[in-house]
């Protein structure tokens, strides 16, 4: 009796949890289609005008473009630096591999605001005034742990004798890595890169210290807009963001399989 009851209770809890998790997301999407400028429930009317108003809203598109650039470039730099480092660590080419791996993944343990303040101080100290460069450097640090963890996990399942075999057959070492290793670990690496991209694209606590008037990332701009003039334009932007995330996840699921993606 008790096991059955508690089991049922667990299911109730899971259903409630899902309902709880999805309500805010669904609400944002619903609000983006309303006609009125206030967010009331139940929503009134149906219109796409808030989607059209994104184009005219101050700086929303520009900041989205900036965020995409920063997220893409920083993820790419992390991918190159992190993968090379991870290969050397997994193959035990360097002493202290564990220490290196922990160090490269450690920014994830440090609160975002603390990192942001540290970057701000350091940039001031060396006289780095360019917000774009500072953001980029900071976001490489931010994305590195995601890359390191997934690449290390993928590499630990990779059989390095295949690289040796390729070299014995005449491939140079870099070429062997590119032709044999990269295709094998690509799925795991791609999922790591996706998380890194999302982490960078959504980041608020680090970026807030590094942006200036002309260089604002999307989360900063969104929050600004929310505090200044909250109208459903923000909801429409958010709905598009949700759509993009869902699409990215579906593509990743097709490429890698969501299960494998998240267990790594």
């Amino acid at each position: 009796m008790i096991p059955r009851l508690s089991f049922a209770l667990c299911w109730v809890m899971l259903s409630l949890a899902l309902l709880f998790l999805f309500t805010p997301i669904v609400i944002v999407v619903a609000v983006s289609f309303t006609e009125s400028a206030v967010f009331s429930f139940p929503p009134q009317g149906f219109s796409l005008k808030w989607y059209y108003s994104i184009r005219n809203a101050d700086g929303l598109l520009a900041s989205a473009w900036l965020s995409a650039q920063v997220a893409f470039i920083s993820t790419l730099i992390s991918l190159v630096l992190g993968t090379l480092c991870a290969i050397a660590v997994v193959r035990r080419m360097v002493p202290g591999g564990d220490v290196i791996a922990t160090f490269m993944a450690s920014p994830l343990m440090i609160p975002g605001l603390v990192l942001g303040i540290a970057f701000l101080q350091a940039a001031r100290l060396v006289g780095l005034n360019d917000a774009y460069t500072t953001l980029l450097v900071a976001h490489v640090v931010l994305t590195m742990p995601f890359i390191m963890r997934t690449v290390l996990a993928s590499l630990s399942m990779f059989d390095f004798s295949m690289v040796d075999a390729a070299r014995m057959l005449g491939c140079s070492y870099p070429r062997a890595l590119w032709r044999v290793l990269v295709p094998n670990i690509l799925p795991g690496v791609m999922s790591g890169a996706l998380f890194a991209f999302i982490a960078s694209f959504d980041n608020y606590p680090i970026s807030i210290f590094l942006v200036d008037v002309h260089t604002k990332t999307l989360p900063i701009q969104l929050l600004n807009q929310l505090e200044m003039s909250p109208d459903p334009t923000v909801a429409a932007t958010s709905a598009l963001l949700i759509l993009a995330t869902v699409l990215a996840l579906i593509v990743c699921d097709r490429l890698v399989g969501l299960k494998r993606m998240t267990t790594i």
Binding site: L14, F20, S40, I110, V114, Q121, G170, Y204, F209, A248
Partner: protein
Amino acid sequence: MTTIEMRTQAEAQPRRRFFQLDTPAIMVLPGIVFMVVAFAIPVLILVADSFRDAGGFSIGGYRKVLGDPYYIGIIWNSLQLGLITTIGSLLIGYPAAFALSRAPARLQVLLFALIFLPLTVSIIVKTFGLAIMMRRDGILNWLLLNVGFIDRPMRLVFTEFALYFGMINVFLPLMILPIYSVMRQLDPRLTDAAASLGAGPVTTFRRVTLPLTMPGVVAGISLVFSISVAAYVTPGLLIGDRFMTMSQVMAKAYLNIRDFNLGASMAVVMLVIAVTIVFTSTYFAEPASRRGRKG
């Protein structure tokens, strides 16, 4: 065939030697140098800054942060925020993860995806949704009115209820997923065995299920606590200045009042809290047997 072999041997020999000498350094150094310059040194500078003000060495920041009741109250607020969010997430997340791990295979994949999806949605977007939910004319008030719990809309936004409701909403998946990943590997026959040996359901849970899923619980607790104690966006939007946390003080110190010494000291205190959580959780995540041997 033979020409290819000869060519590869002739070429591969010297090349291999060259790369074996230099490759490790070429591969490791760029990443490490970058992270030392862009990450380790800035954090060390921040720590050094916390011991310095305009006049040189000073522990004034710490005297303020750790001595002034106002700032101690703020540190306590942050810890309370982390604690309540963690406990709330655990109470919902543990049973939910259990049900998830016992779901039929195909449904499990779908449910898993549904728990995972909200994590990838921007925190600002979710918090925005939560704020709309809790407006006077929002869905929560509408629900409470229609069920009959209240007779007129309540003010929810900018209350502590809104804060914790929102925080648990945002961070719940981070509790469910680690617990689920451990629970999934738990052999259901173990609980059956315990039952057939005469253990009641409560004993089975306490002596078998709970200890075996403990690593997931520890991982979930440390993850949710360390992130929620430092949360900035969600508390800022849902309760604002009514509930000052260390994050708010740090952000204000740097962005508004420009008291860098105060901000740096607060940041170091938060850094210490974060690092403590990581070390404590790695200690507890090890199986008790191994821990005993080591100590």
